[in-house]
């Protein structure tokens, strides 16, 4: 996707967030089971975001001997990541709902791959810190 196309898609998504009822004006209402499956996917992403936010609290509270700057940056990264997951949850839900109403293919996304990579790198960083004895 070109950069301009990506920006246009993002602008369209933000407009949909603030007038989400517009989604219901087009296409036909899909089978309620598909909508419920989409809703459960939304909730799963929301839980992922909540887990990252909880992880931020946990880093701050349960790694008290970690150096101050590192601890604060880890916590902020996890809190911001959790917020991004929550925003992505509603964005993906709206896009899937619209695609189902229009009978289009479901949208694909790089977000899950990026999140998996980020979580893996984060875990590796914590393992290295523990091995170096920076947490005690």
């Amino acid at each position: 996707m070109s950069r301009g196309g990506g920006l246009r898609a993002a602008g369209e998504a933000v407009r949909l967030w603030f007038a989400p009822a517009r989604v219901r004006e087009e296409g036909t209402t899909p089978d309620y089971r598909f909508s419920l499956a989409n809703e459960r996917t939304f909730l799963a992403w929301l839980r992922t975001g909540l887990a990252l936010i909880g992880g931020g609290f946990a880093v701050d509270q349960f790694l008290p001997r970690l150096h101050g700057t590192l601890r604060v940056s880890f916590t902020v990264v996890l809190l911001v990541g959790g917020g991004l997951c929550a925003l992505r949850a509603v964005n993906h839900w709206v896009r899937c709902e619209r695609a189902m109403r229009r009978g289009e293919d479901l949208p694909v996304s790089r977000f899950p791959g990026a999140l998996a990579l980020a979580v893996g790198l984060f875990a590796a960083a914590v393992v290295v810190l523990v091995l170096l004895g920076r947490t005690n």
């Binding site: 989400p20 902020v76 959790g82 917020g83």
Partner: protein, 115 residues
């Protein structure tokens, strides 16, 4: 409904054989439990710097309010799941839930930078 019934005779009751409303209701329950864990962790953090006085009390009240809003929204949606053809998720509920989640993250950041 289009393509919904599948082959074979329809069951006598209108029950969804895939238990979709029940599964969705349980997904909502899991989500409220996750939000509760986050709120409890925030409360634990606030207790650790409890000498903060009014500011800490205000943060605790805000966190509690956000958690309460989250649970009320989820409860209303779970009650809508009681029917066998539940209506779609209202977009306003989705946006409000995201707002609650972002508020929890923001509370976390404020509590962290203060403590």
């Amino acid at each position: 409904m289009a393509g919904g019934a599948g082959p074979g005779p329809r069951p006598a009751s209108d029950r969804d054989p895939g238990l979709q409303p029940e599964r969705t209701r349980l997904a909502w329950r899991r989500t409220t439990l996750s939000a509760t864990v986050v709120a409890l962790l925030a409360g634990r953090q606030l207790l650790r710097n409890a000498e903060g006085g009014a500011v800490v009390a205000a943060e605790a009240a805000l966190t509690g309010l956000v958690w309460f809003g989250f649970v009320v929204l989820a409860h209303r949606r779970m009650r809508a799941m009681a029917g066998c053809r539940p209506p779609g998720l209202p977009p306003r509920t989705a946006l409000l839930l995201i707002g609650c989640t972002l508020a929890l993250a923001l509370c976390g950041a404020v509590i962290l930078l203060q403590g």
